[in-house]
């Protein structure tokens, strides 16, 4: 079993507060949310409930992190070759 600090253990057991998306809704919105984040827009306002879901669901949290990291590492369209 992983050793938790008390705060981390509480967070894991109780999850985030407030309304949140389901995993299916999260997957549906993830690409839009990440692009808004990378564009510096208010992604949390545009996709209410996403932040709480990402805090509560370890798997969706990982998917979000991966998509954001990968898209950020890709050349921006205007920097690459025109398809």
């Amino acid at each position: 079993m992983r050793r938790h600090d008390h705060e981390g253990l509480l967070r894991a057991l109780l999850g985030p507060e407030g309304p949140q998306l389901t995993c299916e809704e999260c997957f549906e919105q993830l690409d839009r949310y990440v692009e808004l984040e990378l564009a510096g827009s208010d992604a949390d306002k545009a996709v209410p409930g996403m932040r709480a879901h990402l805090e509560g669901c370890p798997a969706c949290h990982g998917d979000h992190e991966s998509l954001r990291t990968f898209v950020r590492s890709e050349p921006r369209p205007h920097e690459g070759e025109a398809r």
Binding site: M1, R2, R3, H4, D5, H6, E7, L9, L10, A12, L13, L14, G15, E17, Q20, T22, C23, E24, F27, Q29, L30, D31, R32, V34, E35, A39, G56, C57, P58, A59, G62, D63, S66, L67, T69, F70, V71, S73, E74, R76, P77, H78, G80, A82, R83
Partner: protein, 236 residues
């Protein structure tokens, strides 16, 4: 002979730059429209678009299996390459089945990458946990006691809080809720792996986890117990 790219937006529309985000959030940019048109076409044009898309998805899947796979030393390079290819293949099939769902809320490639990354992450976790017994019970409940070095009063409050949590987990949750909560939050079992073993879905298990957490919050609120800076009641 060099073939023209399957997906080209050159001269598609005047004033619409490649990759330029559409002014309307749900109208795809020119490159994304070109992808969708090529994938909906017939014959060699579609074949080339599918091949290019597979290449993109394989790149995303390879990124993900290496990123995730580094946590599992028993997965070797060849295993990771196979997992990336399998993930790209599966993700491509999933995407092509949902092409009509693409609404242009993001660039087409971002939309495509999420399929590949999800598939790769799930496949790595499945492979890493293959043949392992899932810990569905806590090794010890002692973690609900003790102090983290704070003041005696804070330590006493924490002790009471975790004591009530332990009671709620044991008495308020259904066996299924307890199993899911303990496996995911205390024993770090990946939710997709647990879903496979229980023959259900990530979404269904997360709903179970959410319901269990609500019960724990409710139990604490009924006793007027504080969670961090707020009371459980305010957090409901």
């Amino acid at each position: 002979m060099t073939q023209a790219p399957a997906v080209s937006v050159k001269n598609l529309e005047s004033g619409s730059g490649v990759g330029e985000k559409s002014a309307h959030p749900d109208v795809p940019d020119a490159e994304s429209r070109a992808w969708v048109a090529a994938l909906r076409a017939d014959g060699p044009r579609r074949d080339r678009a599918v091949a290019e898309l597979h290449e993109l998805m394989l790149r995303a899947a390879s990124f993900e299996v290496r990123r995730r796979g580094s946590a599992f030393p028993h997965l070797r390079g060849g295993d990771l390459d196979d997992l990336a290819m399998q993930s790209a293949d599966d993700a491509l099939m999933a995407l092509l089945g949902k092409i009509d769902d693409y609404r242009g809320a993001s660039r087409f490639t971002t939309w495509a990458y999420k399929f590949a990354l999800l598939e790769a992450a799930v496949n790595v976790r499945r492979r890493a946990w293959q043949g392992r017994e899932l810990p569905l019970e806590p090794e010890t409940w002692e973690l609900f006691g003790g102090s983290d070095g704070s003041s005696p009063q804070a330590a006493a409050e924490q002790g009471e809080l975790f004591g009530e949590l332990g009671t709620a987990i044991a008495e308020q949750l259904t066996p299924h809720q307890r199993e899911v909560l303990v496996a995911i939050t205390l024993n770090d079992v990946p939710i997709d792996v647990l879903a496979d073993r229980l023959n259900t879905t990530r979404g269904a298990l997360y709903k179970t986890l959410h319901d269990a957490r609500q019960k724990l919050r409710g139990h604490l609120a009924d006793r007027g117990m504080r969670i961090g800076a707020e009371t459980a009641g305010e957090a409901r």
